[in-house]
């Protein structure tokens, strides 16, 4: 299994070629169209080839109810779904909703944490692609504008 495979396939590059290339040459796998999309459905279509996802309670999305600061919103996604290929974070009301797309390689558990930016209150969607389908769960995170703090 090589870096970038799942998203590169969408770009129509042959898998055999990819497997033969040294890893450093594969940076182009960054899915530019998905990251440029201005809607969540557009991003999903570009990234995964479909905007259809199956709601799943086997995905745990841990985000705050009210973000202390929209610039740093802690997020953890874990799932008990098996054979996970990728986990993506979509912030519906961000100008470019796709925040990140993680390719999960063999050996790596589907448990990812990061910190994201949110411009305003929005649903945050965790999208999990497995070998059997595309699943998701969403939660709303409220973003308030402060001024003090610290």
């Amino acid at each position: 299994m090589q870096i970038g495979r799942r998203f590169v396939l969408k770009a129509g590059v042959a898998l055999a070629t990819i497997a033969a290339l040294p890893r450093a040459l594969l940076a182009a796998a960054w899915p530019v169209n998905a990251f440029s999309a201005e809607t969540a459905t557009g991003a999903l279509n570009e990234l995964l080839g479909t905007e259809q996802t199956t709601p799943s309670d086997q995905i745990n999305l841990d985000v705050p109810v009210i973000a202390e600061n929209g610039a740093v919103v802690p997020i953890t996604i874990t799932t008990t779904l098996s054979n996970v290929e990728s986990i993506s974070i979509v912030v519906e009301n961000n100008p470019r909703p796709l925040a990140a797309a993680f390719e999960i390689m063999p050996g790596t558990l589907p448990e990812i944490s990061s910190r994201i930016k949110m411009g305003e209150t929005s649903d945050v969607m965790a999208v999990v692609k497995t070998d059997s389908g595309i699943y998701s769960t969403s939660k709303q995170v409220k973003v308030t504008i402060g001024g003090c703090g610290g």
Partner: protein, 279 residues
């Protein structure tokens, strides 16, 4: 009659002493602690060092997630390198400080009899540099912040124990000046520090919850998510003063150093827990 007058005089003098004692720093501090403990009976004393995260559980969870790997660790690492790098004359910054590494942070702020002023950690670092013919660091330079972040980190777990020596009249005057600053309203919004951080601690102002003043000085410098960078305690003072629409003072001005002296004394007994992370 004369005897009666003498007795009265002694009583009056005793009362005056009593009066002075009541207004002394330790009595101030005990009243301060008692006030916050009665306002927040569910919060253990030691937790006040964590500011608003002692009070707000949703915010606390997010803060703990940042603390999993806080961005101030880069500042601590850089500060460690700077601290252990010899000055051009071969001397070390550590040679200026008569204390073990974990105890250096806690020596400040202190009152210096010779200059009649409060010396903060930042001032002490610059005094040391000047002694070794090095230019002062700007108080909000990354070098200064990194050094103080490192010393704060090394001091973790030691207790705040700021002294206002009774036999140094200037020390009490500096403390009193800081106390007056803290309780005086200023700016177009006409707020005192105490208006927000005593009477209204825990309340919401727009989208923010106000922290309690006890513990305010234990955890600086702080990585602020809002700024994506580190700020010093006095830079935070300046931010608050700007928020009430008053003109901020210069960093390490007499006003801020005295305020830091007073506020640090109010946190006696808590642990030094810097550097910190705040939103």
């Amino acid at each position: 009659m004369r005897k009666a007058a003498a007795v009265l005089g002694v009583i009056v003098a005793a009362l005056l002493v009593q009066q002075n004692a009541l207004a002394g720093p330790e009595e101030d501090r005990l009243a301060f602690v008692a006030y916050f403990e009665s306002r927040f009976p569910e919060i253990p004393f030691a937790q006040f060092a964590n500011g608003i995260y002692a009070i707000d559980s949703d915010a606390r969870k997010q803060w703990l997630e940042i603390e999993e790997f806080p961005p101030y660790e880069f500042a601590v690492e850089r500060g460690n390198e700077l601290w252990h790098k010899a000055l051009p004359d071969g001397q070390m910054l550590a040679d200026c400080f008569a204390a073990e590494l974990p105890d250096i942070r806690g020596q400040f702020p202190r009152f210096d009899v010779a200059s009649g002023e409060v010396i903060t950690l930042e001032v002490a670092i610059n005094d040391c540099r000047i002694e070794h013919n090095q230019p002062s660091l700007a108080y909000d330079s990354s070098e200064m912040i990194d050094l103080t972040a490192y010393l704060a980190f090394e001091a973790r777990g030691t207790k705040v124990d700021i002294r206002v020596p009774e036999d140094q009249a200037g020390a009490l005057a500096a403390y009193e000046s800081g106390k007056r600053f803290y309780y005086s309203k200023r700016g177009q919004l006409n707020f005192a520090c105490a208006d927000c951080h005593v009477a209204s601690a825990g309340q919401w102002v727009r989208a923010d919850r106000l922290s309690a003043s006890i513990g305010h000085t234990t955890h600086f410098p702080v990585y602020r998510s809002k700024l994506g960078g580190m700020i010093s305690l006095q830079k935070r003072f300046a931010g608050c003063i700007r928020d009430v629409r008053a003109k901020p003072f210069e960093l390490q001005s007499t006003q801020y150093r005295n305020l830091e002296y007073f506020l640090s004394y109010m946190s006696n007994g808590l642990e030094w827990n810097g550097p910190g992370a705040r939103k």
